[in-house]
């Protein structure tokens, strides 16, 4: 791998031991994946935040680091709402460890926003920008909808990029790896959670491929694209997709290795296979709710009372900017939790079955939280929470 004189100096330890190791991480990954150089990144989003996932081992490592991030850097969701963790049912001991983790990141100069949707609250990525983001759905959104370039970074490699300001140039940073490998012809008009169900199906088929979608009918909203990408990154490991005439176009000419055709029948089968009936809790906001989604949920809950636990997960900045919607949702008995989500919080583990509108949560709830999962439209989720189904 080629290093500039300055990079070589860091690699040799001229700027201290933390930076030397960080550079060593970037170079080792570059070697593994065949990168020729490093490239500056505009922003970093760091995974390895929920204490449930990183445990004492991860906390120790982050706490031991010395240094400051040199590019805007923000965090993935934590294992709890950093303010209302007691209400979530989080144990004191866990809360202490989670707060220690957050403080360790703060000491490094990381902005303390814990969200899987950084693009909903900050301008951190534009077309063609190189990034080092971690969270799989954010990576997918950045690559596909924004047209930026990022691999799916692990916690340490994201932190390395944040402290050095660079990442190794390989994978989705290069045009040659951004060409579609599958053509997906969808013969159905899709709406809302249909995009999560579609992503759930396609991710399983294409695995780490790059699907190119032809979708008839109405243009998908930003939230629908968010749900599609999130589900494909969970059921497969799709980090980049295209939607004809909607997302930025692929580079140059391409030829699909395979064509997949899916219609209403296949999508409805997902709902039938994972029904929401029997759920003792409902969770929305995987990925984190946008302002528009909060507004929609508030509209559906206006003047109603929930019969079941209903969590709405979002970024703290979004909740703070929309106090009226948050108040309407909470008056129904539902809870708006920030900084966390049903997938990464241990608070989810006490439920037997959770209903969600998210294809991503449908994949992760059973494996990561040991909770059964069902999927339905946003309206159906609210109906279940209100005891109407």
């Amino acid at each position: 791998m080629y290093l500039s004189r300055e990079e070589e100096g860091i690699y040799q330890g001229e700027q201290g031991e933390t930076l030397r190791r960080m550079m060593e991480i970037l170079v080792a990954l570059g070697d593994i994946y065949g990168a020729e150089t490093l490239v500056p990144v505009r922003s970093v989003q760091i995974a390895g935040v929920s204490y449930k996932n990183i445990g004492e081992a991860g906390l120790e490592w982050i706490s031991d680091l010395q240094g400051r991030v040199v590019v805007p850097s923000i965090l993935n969701p934590a294992g709890m709402d950093l303010c209302r963790w007691k209400e979530m049912g989080i144990e004191e001991e866990f809360a202490l460890k989670q707060k220690e983790t957050i403080e360790a990141y703060r000491k490094l100069g990381v902005t303390i926003d814990c969200t899987c949707t950084p693009y909903q609250i900050y301008d951190l990525a534009g077309p063609g920008d190189h990034l080092a983001w971690s969270e799989s759905s954010a990576v997918s959104y950045a690559n596909s909808v924004i047209g930026a370039r990022t691999n799916r970074e692990g916690g340490p490699s994201a932190l390395a990029a944040a402290l050095v300001g660079k990442t190794a140039l390989y994978g989705y940073h290069l045009d040659e790896n951004r060409r579609p490998t599958y053509l997906v012809e969808v013969e159905a008009d899709l709406q809302g959670s249909d995009y999560g169900a579609l992503g759930f199906l396609v991710g399983r088929i294409v695995k780490d491929g790059v699907p190119f979608f032809r979708l008839p009918g109405r243009r998908p909203s930003a939230d629908e694209l968010k749900a599609l990408g999130a589900a494909m990154a969970a059921s497969g490991s799709v980090a980049l997709y295209y939607v004809e005439n909607v997302t930025p176009a692929p580079p140059g000419l391409w030829q699909p290795e395979e064509t997949i055709r899916l219609g209403r029948k296949e999508i409805d089968e997902v709902y039938a296979q994972y029904p929401g009936g029997g759920a003792d809790a409902v969770a929305l906001g995987c990925p984190h709710c946008s302002a528009e989604e909060l507004e929609t949920i508030a509209g559906l809950l206006q003047g109603e009372k929930v019969q079941k636990v209903l969590w709405v997960c979002t970024a703290r900045k979004i909740a703070n900017a929309h106090p009226d919607q948050v108040a309407t949702i909470e008056e129904s008995g539902a809870r708006v939790f920030c900084d966390t989500c049903m997938v990464v919080s241990p608070a989810t583990e006490r439920f037997g079955k959770m209903m969600t509108s998210s294809g991503k949560a449908l994949v992760y709830l059973p494996g990561l939280a040991g909770v059964q999962a069902g999927i339905g439209s946003l309206k159906e989720c609210i109906d279940v929470a209100l005891g109407r189904r």
Binding site: I25, A28, L29, G48, I54, G55, A57, W61, G154, P156
Partner: protein, 134 residues
């Protein structure tokens, strides 16, 4: 005997070899508090990796494995050095953040080294030295 290799994490260390043909998931396969392989399905089940030159094809499993390697190192229970056929990010990152010499791209004969043989990994020189008993 010397074998050429590719440096992943810098440093030079020696110790008795501990060799397995199984990939290792540090999260789950190895107890961070004892350094013992605790997965009954693993070839190294019951063995302690502390102070050894751990020779294995590569890592697998959760990325949290990188942090487990770090925890082992802090407790003095980490391998002295590691050799992979092909390093992947979990073990590579774990070795680097922990300061454990790690090399890869070695020949298949490296996997034939007998456990217990004294081995030196000099990542900086890109060299593995095997000391015969004779």
């Amino acid at each position: 005997m010397e074998i050429k290799c590719h440096k992943v994490a810098c440093g030079c260390a020696r110790g008795p070899a501990l060799v397995t043909g199984d990939a290792i998931s540090f999260l789950g396969n190895v107890d961070a508090k004892t350094g013992v392989v605790v997965d009954p399905a693993h070839e190294l089940f019951g063995q302690c990796i502390a102070g050894k030159v751990l020779i294995f094809p590569g890592g697998k499993g959760s990325t949290v494995g990188s942090y487990v390697i770090y925890q082992l190192k802090k407790r003095g229970l980490a391998p002295a050095a590691m050799i992979n056929i092909r390093s992947e990010p979990i073990v590579a990152v774990g070795a680097i953040i922990s300061g454990i010499p790690l090399v890869d791209r070695v020949t298949e004969e490296t996997m034939q080294i007998k456990s217990g043989t004294l081995v030196e990994v000099d990542a900086d020189q890109g060299r593995v030295r095997i000391f015969r008993d004779d």
